[in-house]
Subunit: 451 residues, 2 copies
């Protein structure tokens, strides 16, 4: 039986199984869902076992458990490590969901549920692909390992120590992840670049109490004046980051890279219309895909201080706050960048204001050479199933664990995504287009065979 | 009997009466206290009647009632209009009060209650001063009118139309108000300047939705970047307001005015220590009392946008907000200032950001020439009772009704305050020092006789 026929035959059964998994509210961020996390881990490990995988383990961590499984009976063949996660994002605001987030529903060829595409649905494809090959051929064309975590949505803090400690056990020739998206329906993409991330929280303090703007206004420092002038100093008036040395380690775009970006034929006018913007904005001299794919950023994610209620309050606030994240590219070192920003802030703060800075996240950018045969074979697999060769793209986002997996296991990472950009990840009405569910199964089988 | 003896004799009775008034929670801001407002108005009108005042009226308004009363039997003598208010501020946070706000208590020569000094206690002095003269001398040395409102703590919106409509009825040679403070115990002051006030709310909009900083960061406008750079542009780096034409109508300080400020011998080092500041901050070339007493300001009272919760959120916010108030001096016109700020904001807003500006409050500054005989006689009265001549001071705050009274009635306003700067107006443990209760009664009697 061809794999098309096989997956056709078991389609309803597979969907029923996936729906079972999707009914488990395994929200990693909320401690009241700890039992659901355990239930989801149990479900995944059972599913791996019944697919024919061996050495299935649920490994407790300080946080949520990691699941390991393998099938290592293809001596001389490459070893593939499949990474995925069984935890999901919170579901607020609940009233915006058309059907409840943990009652999976198919409408118009799309499966709606929290986790449908991120990442339970995509992870499930790998389990079913392996199961299919084992059922049909009794053996796998590669050695395979699964490493599934339950903390991806809360920064994967317990996986890196586990990777460090079990490097040999997890050793692989390629890491395979399905947790990204096609460019658009029918247009597959393999992500070869992710930006790094670093973040900090800044507080400005002035007086020891809020002051009346009548009695004191004009004569004492105002924490809000101090913070807005400080934050404004972080960019020049062309949108370029004004922190000294910020761009060290940022590779200049080569003509080849610019051609690759141009191939995406990104429609900036459509984006402007979609977002209701008169104009895009960013560093001069770069297109939107270049700015988000290959340039670093420094973004204010939150700024607040003083009175926020209705009406007015004549107060001079004693403190003000900012939350800042940077996306990093190339060889920018997150620690170095945070230190440079901190130095800039200290140098530019207004007299009478005191600074408190907390450095939070630190993750390097990830890049891989698209010439790597592991990637080329993935593009081949997509081409055979979708009829279109996958483009190699740079994504503006950050998946810190990808850089960690690549570095610790010293293996190429293939991000073979089957989502779509509008599937409402982290938002109400998350869904997974079943066309990519079907093609995803075939692409994975094909890829494993091509290896 | 001397007035000292008279007030000594009736002291306990007077305090008991004032305590009655202070038990009424006439909080104008909270609609559930409307019956208490009515009760307080009733109490004041009864008190005016029994003091011997005539034509006592409780005048309904769209908001809380105004009380009028007069005693006009001194032909050829000046007419004094006493202004005061019987409403009080809310009392939160209640747990910080040592005794309940509406259970008046005397401790260490201070009467503790909400409204003790602002303004029930100070208003009460005028009623009892007039009563004393009528009891002792059967006639008053002046014609007197009372105009008492119940909305001072909520911006006096219904008094100005009443003043406009009853200009003739309220006509006076001097407006007398006790709703301010001495400089410190034993050091009386007459306020001859109040800053004006204008305010606006600014919203910056960018995209029609919050965006993910990975996918979009660096390529789209960020409402927080737009607002911080816009707000930072409102001042130069010396603390001077950078809005074109802002300082038009601001009188330069004359050597005489500077001498008057210097007489206050204000201790800036003590202020710094009290507020926990390394340094004061403001427009270059001016002392603290000059900055707050004679210079205009533009203060940010609130700025907010984006994520404010714990941890970080990689969001590019679609909107950001600012609340701004200006204190005005001299001939600055609030409408003109608001228009200039609006023009500045429109000119400086970053590409890709849209502005929404709402103008809110508009009140002119108040000033009076201290050479005015009505003020000189007030200083004389203080000198005779306190042994120290009152200083003429400029207050940084704004009491819009003072400028309105002065303008509509075309009369000098004498702010004869008997509070103290640390009596916790608008805060828990508001109190009134009874030394100034006693001296206030005598000063008012003396002033009415001097006129």
């Amino acid at each position: 039986m061809s794999y098309e026929s096989y997956f056709q035959k078991y389609r309803e059964q597979h969907l029923e199984e996936l729906k079972q998994l999707l009914t488990i509210p395994s929200i990693s961020a909320l401690s009241e869902h700890k039992p659901d996390i355990a239930k989801a881990a149990e479900w995944i490990s059972n599913s791996l076992s019944s697919a024919g995988l061996e050495n299935v383990e649920i490994i407790p961590t300080k946080g949520h458990p990691i699941i390991y499984a393998d099938h290592l009976h293809a001596p001389g063949k490459p070893t593939v490590l499949v990474y995925g996660h069984y935890d999901v994002q919170p579901v607020d605001p609940l009233h915006l969901w058309d059907t409840p987030p943990f009652e999976p529903t198919v409408r118009d060829g799309k499966l709606y549920a929290r986790g449908a595409t991120d990442d339970k649905g995509q992870l499930f494809l790998h389990i079913k692909a392996v199961e299919a090959i084992l059922k049909e051929e009794k053996e796998l064309p590669v050695n395979i390992k699964f490493c599934i975590e339950g903390e991806e949505e809360i920064a994967s803090s317990n996986l890196p120590p586990y990777l460090d400690e079990h490097k040999d056990k997890l050793a692989a020739d390629v890491v395979l992840i399905s947790d990204t998206a096609l460019l658009e329906p029918g247009k597959p993409a393999i992500c070869i670049g992710l930006r790094g991330l670093c973040s900090l929280e800044v507080t400005v303090h002035t007086a020891n109490t809020d002051l009346h703007s009548g009695t004191f206004g004009g004569g004492v420092p105002n924490a809000l004046h101090a913070i807005v002038s400080l934050l404004a100093s972080l960019h020049d008036d062309k949108g370029r980051i004004a922190v000294e040395g910020f761009y060290e380690g940022v590779p200049e775009l080569t003509p080849t890279m610019r051609e690759e970006f141009a191939k995406q034929q990104f429609n900036e006018d459509k984006l402007k219309a979609d977002l209701g913007l008169d104009t895009l904005y960013g560093e001069e001299g770069y297109s939107f895909v270049e700015r988000t794919g290959a340039r670093p950023t420094l973004e204010l994610n939150g700024v607040y201080g003083g009175f926020q209620g209705e009406g007015s309050k004549t107060v001079i606030p004693k403190e003000a706050h900012a939350k800042i994240t940077c996306r990093l590219v190339g060889n920018q070192d997150p620690q170095d960048i945070l230190d440079k920003i901190e130095a800039h802030l200290k140098q530019h703060v207004q007299p009478g204001a005191k600074l408190n800075i907390v450095q939070v996240e630190k993750a390097r950018a990830f890049t891989i050479d698209p010439a790597n045969p592991m990637l080329q074979k993935a593009a081949d697999a997509y081409e055979r199933v979708y009829g279109t060769r996958a483009l190699f793209t740079n994504d503006g986002g950050s998946i810190p664990i990808v850089e960690t997996l690549s570095r610790v296991l010293d293996a190429p990472v293939v991000m073979m995504g089957f989502g779509l950009p509008d599937e409402n990840l982290h938002a109400p009405n998350e869904h997974f287009n079943l066309e990519n569910f079907d093609k995803g199964l075939l692409t994975i089988v094909d890829y494993l065979k091509l290896l």
